[in-house]
């Protein structure tokens, strides 16, 4: 148990390097979830409410994309952002922006697929009432997303869980640069391979604690909201 004790000491001692790592992890993953929500929620709702040829195929692909391997996404983003790649001129490879882009790609299908399912279920329930009130397509999406907001929180949490836990994409596009692109997961991978288990364990504990705390906050918000909105 000596590893645990030193990990705890590190956390409690308020080591600034540690806090920079935790902070960057949160910034990257929460930004990615926010970007993915902005793209994924309208996209999922749109698929839920429209009928077009090949819709089933789109849904299958979307569901499959939920399981995109992070290293493959990392590789793709790396190729796109590398100096000779199509987006190389931005010069953002090995920066937090590149990490946010990679995680946004990982999280968007999760949010879009779960939104599609949630909104479609609610649509079946609301369809007649909204038709009777002559609600147009745009207002329909707004109404359904708003009324599904507490269920959609689950989609955001699932997305956050994926982003916070993954290491494969951000280690490739971020480079795990100390003090700049090092996050909890990339640091754990590095420290473990170096044999510095106390730091790795400490970071692991912090990571799990953060995920639990964010889920608890979201749960509380959902319960409170549902009590007032039904």
């Amino acid at each position: 148990m000596s590893g645990d004790t030193s990990a705890l000491t590190l956390i409690l001692s308020g080591d600034p390097g540690l806090y920079r790592i935790i902070g960057l992890s949160l910034v990257v993953s929460l930004s990615a979830v926010a970007c993915a929500a902005v793209i994924g929620i309208p996209l999922g709702a749109l698929i839920a409410l429209t009928r077009f040829r090949g819709r089933d195929g789109v849904i299958v692909v979307l569901n499959a994309l939920m399981g995109l391997p992070p290293v493959v996404v990392g590789l793709g983003v790396y190729l796109a952002l590398s100096r000779s790649g199509p987006l190389g001129s931005f010069g953002i490879l090995f920066t937090p922006q590149a990490m946010i882009i990679a995680q946004t790609i990982l999280v968007t299908p999760i949010i879009a697929a779960l939104t599609r399912q949630t909104v479609e279920d609610l649509w079946l329930e609301y369809r007649d009432e909204l038709a009777a009130m002559d609600i147009g397509p745009a207002a329909r999406i707004g109404t359904l997303v708003w009324d599904a907001r507490f269920s959609l929180m689950t989609a955001l949490l699932a997305g956050f869980g994926r982003a916070a836990a993954e290491v494969g994409a951000i280690i490739i596009v971020g480079g795990n640069i100390d003090g700049f692109t090092r996050t909890m997961t990339t640091a754990i991978a590095l420290e473990t391979s170096k044999g510095d288990l106390p730091l790795a364990i400490g970071l692991g504990i912090v990571l799990i604690a953060i995920v639990v705390i964010i889920n608890a906050l979201a749960w509380a918000a959902r319960r409170t909201g549902e009590r007032y909105a039904g």
């Binding site: 329930e125 609301y126 009777a132 009130m133 609600i135 207002a139 009324d147 039904g230």
Partner: protein
């Protein structure tokens, strides 16, 4: 008050609705004019719900035509419907009404007054802030009525609105229907409760197997039914 346009009379000619090989409505010709409530009766599966959906403009007939107050576009200008199992939006009772007011184009500045009026009309003033989905069955039906009335309809369609309610809740709804009809709103309602048809009906339409079997003023329909099926139905015999 908005434009004095009306959806009346509603003229249905030869309305046929099919689902696959099944004919749900079979050449229904019927005029719905201003006046006391029109009550649709008939056994389960007779086509009452489908007819109400056609009248609302929610179901497109496979044959026949329908005209609302000389217009044949289905724009739901001054029509409203309460479904047999109304779906409450996941919002408060007041917000459900506000939503309908917004959908009907009522300016936001008038919402507060309208909501208060409608809630008091259906006796739900005390429950304005309650989540609509946590209301009892009878309260939800009353809220659904208020939400429909938020459209300021000239025609109000009600599908078995009291079907699953106890006598007290049923009476509350019937009182509201009477008040609404008294204000000049044309009520078209289906019911399987013959007592209710007698209590509220101005005219009665008996449906069976997608057809209109008999139509007439309520008093006459119940006292001197013209068809054998109407006589049997009133006597409580099973129409098969």
């Amino acid at each position: 008050m908005r434009a004095p346009d009306t959806d009346l009379p509603i003229v249905l000619s030869g309305i046929t609705v099919k689902a696959g090989a099944v004919t749900i409505l079979d050449g229904v010709t019927q005029t719905i004019a201003a006046g006391a409530p029109t009550v649709l009766i008939g056994p389960n599966g007779a086509g009452k719900t489908t007819l109400l959906r056609v009248v609302m403009g929610l179901a497109k007939p496979d044959a026949g035509s329908i005209v609302w107050g000389n217009r044949d576009d289905a724009a739901k200008v001054r029509r409203a419907i309460v479904f047999q199992r109304p779906v409450m939006l996941r919002r408060s009772a007041a917000a459900n009404i506000a939503y309908a007011l917004g959908a009907a184009g009522v300016p936001r500045a008038q919402h507060e007054t309208c909501i208060a009026e409608l809630l008091s009309l259906v006796g739900l003033d005390a429950l304005a802030t309650r989540p609509a989905r946590k209301l009892s069955g009878g309260e939800q039906q009353r809220l659904a009525l208020a939400r429909a009335l938020a459209r300021d309809p000239s025609v109000l369609l009600l599908d078995e609105t009291t079907a699953s309610l106890d006598p007290a809740a049923t009476k509350a709804i019937e009182d509201i229907i009477r008040a609404v009809a008294g204000r000049g709103v044309k009520v078209v309602m289906s019911t399987h409760d013959l007592g209710q048809a007698r209590r509220l009906g101005g005219d009665v339409v008996l449906m069976h197997r997608g057809r209109v079997i008999e139509h007439g003023p309520a008093a006459q329909f119940f006292a001197q039914p013209k068809t054998e099926q109407a006589r049997a139905f009133i006597a409580g015999e099973l129409l098969v």
